[in-house]
Symmetry: C2
Subunit: 379 residues, 2 copies
């Protein structure tokens, strides 16, 4: 009958391979998040018996009671991570233990069960290996992995779910901008609606942070602006507006500091309103190692819109970019804010700034195994 597994146990992994494999899509036809690989990895949990044996099996629908907690109260959290193919054909993961740690932290925030991180990492690596034929080759290409944890207990009282399901699906992703290379985006700064708030859940990757952002994103898009820049600070007092994130990315500002007159790379601090991005953390580490010797300062501190505008007007704004798993860095051309447009300092005809380009190469060289680094592990 099998013994009851209290926590996830990678040695109990059961693999049921699909009889018939799906055809791979041509690399130029890959559309993020809409097509998935042959298999799903899942582990279920029950308040009485704990975590069951992990299973990799053919991709299939989930069958859930209409009273399942996830449908009513957003008991859900997830991760976004990628598997890359290196020049030797190995599948590589980038700091995967960080995603697993963050998933556990998100789970605790929304009353979902936590788990042994090392054991989940082991079965996740098995899954990435099994799906290796789906990892496309080439810079910008990857297999996106989506670990997801949902409350499945059929109970519409507002309480901790009594059962849950952790699963991983995978979607091959192409080079976002096709052969035309990277493209700078423009942002619409918004002080309302508000994505996250001190004491809220904006520093966790929980489902509830996302659905309420869509309408604002669509409205920005209708005005020709690709992402919303989420501000905090009293909406009626523009001097108090400070930046948090843009779309689903962390933000980095490079400027000449007006007080010290030296170059500074800034990102908003992890004050509870900011997702602790793994790309963000990696950029900070590499910048401290590689930019500081060249006289740069690297800071996590609050950045006000008025400061960005002033830097732009005074020619002190060197670069401004988003950072996340999807694009590593996403260069920003301008910000519509407070009735005006702030130019972010990109040179005429350029789609990315020098620093953003450098940072992107640092990270990608590690992800694709061109630079050997402990952050990149062979699956």
């Amino acid at each position: 009958m099998g013994s009851i597994s209290k926590d996830i146990d990678s040695t109990k992994l059961l693999v049921k391979q699909a009889d018939k494999l799906k055809p791979l899509q041509p690399a130029d036809k890959l559309q993020f998040g809409r097509s998935f690989t042959d298999h799903i990895l899942s582990v279920s949990w029950d308040v009485n018996t704990g975590w069951t044996e992990p299973v990799i099996e053919p991709y299939k629908s989930l069958e859930l009671d209409p009273a399942a907690a996830v449908f009513h109260y957003a008991f859900c959290c997830f991760e976004g991570m990628k598997a890359y193919k290196d020049a030797q054909g190995n599948v590589r993961l980038f700091r995967p233990e960080r995603n697993i740690q963050r998933l556990n932290r998100s789970a605790a925030r929304v009353a979902l069960p936590t788990f042994n991180e090392n054991e989940l990492l082991k079965v996740l690596i098995e899954y990435a290996r099994l799906e290796s034929r789906w990892v496309p080759e080439g810079r910008g290409f990857a297999l996106y992995l989506r670990p997801t944890l949902i409350g499945t207990g059929a109970d519409v009282s507002v309480s901790r779910p009594r059962s849950a399901l952790l699963y991983v699906i995978a979607s091959p992703v192409g080079n976002y901008f096709g052969s035309s290379g990277v493209k700078a985006i423009s942002l619409e700064a918004a002080s309302s609606p508000v994505r996250a708030w001190p004491g809220g859940a904006g520093d966790n990757k929980v489902g509830g942070n996302y659905a309420p952002t869509i309408v604002a994103q669509e409205q920005a898009s209708e005005r020709g602006l690709q992402q919303v820049l989420w501000l905090l600070g009293d909406p009626s007092v523009p001097e108090e507006h400070y930046i948090t994130e843009a779309g689903t990315m962390n933000l980095f500002v490079a400027w000449v500091n007006p007080e010290t007159n030296t170059k500074e790379l800034l990102t908003p601090p992890l004050d509870g309103t900011i997702l602790p991005g793994i790309t963000r953390d990696s950029i900070l580490d590499l910048a401290r190692e590689r930019l500081v010797p060249d006289g740069w300062t690297v800071s996590e501190k609050r950045v006000y819109m008025r400061e960005i505008k002033e830097a732009s007007e005074q020619g002190r704004l060197l670069d401004f970019f988003g950072a996340g798993t999807a694009l590593i860095v996403s260069p920003i051309r301008s910000i519509t804010w407070n009735g005006g447009v702030v130019d972010c300092g990109l040179k005429e005809g350029h789609e990315i700034g020098d620093l953003a380009q450098t940072v992107k190469k640092w990270i990608e060289d590690i992800q694709y195994g061109e630079t050997e680094h402990p952050w990149s592990i062979v699956a």
Copy 2:
């Protein structure tokens, strides 16, 4: 083949009755939200074809792709409403059009499809009729109806779902406090975590508002306090703490106004951080009609914790209660706040204040058809 239905059309309702009906549970064994009736009402939506024919069919599991939007980004909203049995055995609904309106508003907030409210109301009434044997008799008993709307499109890009499912399930509910009657609860006032914030989604009944509240509720419970009183205002400045909601209820304060020295019934205003409760609205309407002639003032305005504490200390706090569909009014004995306990004015040995008792009777008399009122409709 049927024509494509752009919006919900009640005349297209298809009813497939269950062959075998479940046994009813004894009234004293009813447990809210864990057992459900024989049928589910559902209508599905697709971005290309609109809403399909509504169907009432045997209660069943939902089958969804693991990439369905609801699992990842909390594309979900719901309503809570009740069907009551009157002395003549009729099934009655209380202001159901208000729940349907609010569901539509919640849907729009989280980028889910909206619908014709009258048409949904008609099929909801059909559903309540069909399940009438499940509506238990007696004060405090009811059949809880749970309209739910989820994003079902299999797409993990952060965007508007391309398909959705609206469904209604129902759970019979007993007298919450059994034969012992109503019981006053004590609250733990919390300025962090925060439930909702200006510019957030706290004024809509969307899933994401709920999961992040569970851990705080459990911690209050461990300290012997039944619900969290959600505060706003700078956590580090107790003088600025003001009340919003408690648990999942709106709040009412009755006091002698310190400036006018007259009786006042207060509730926080709909400033974007408060759920526009239908019980709240009904209490306000009835209080304006029935208390104002007796010299009361009825106000929607911000109430600070320091004001409640001062009123308590000066013997001016007459009553303090939560309001919601579950219990109509939930009397409050005390609030733990800022290192002390604020007594809410209940008399020794009493579990409910005079005003709360009066208001509860007003609403229940209408809900159970004892007082004829346009708010209560026979299904």
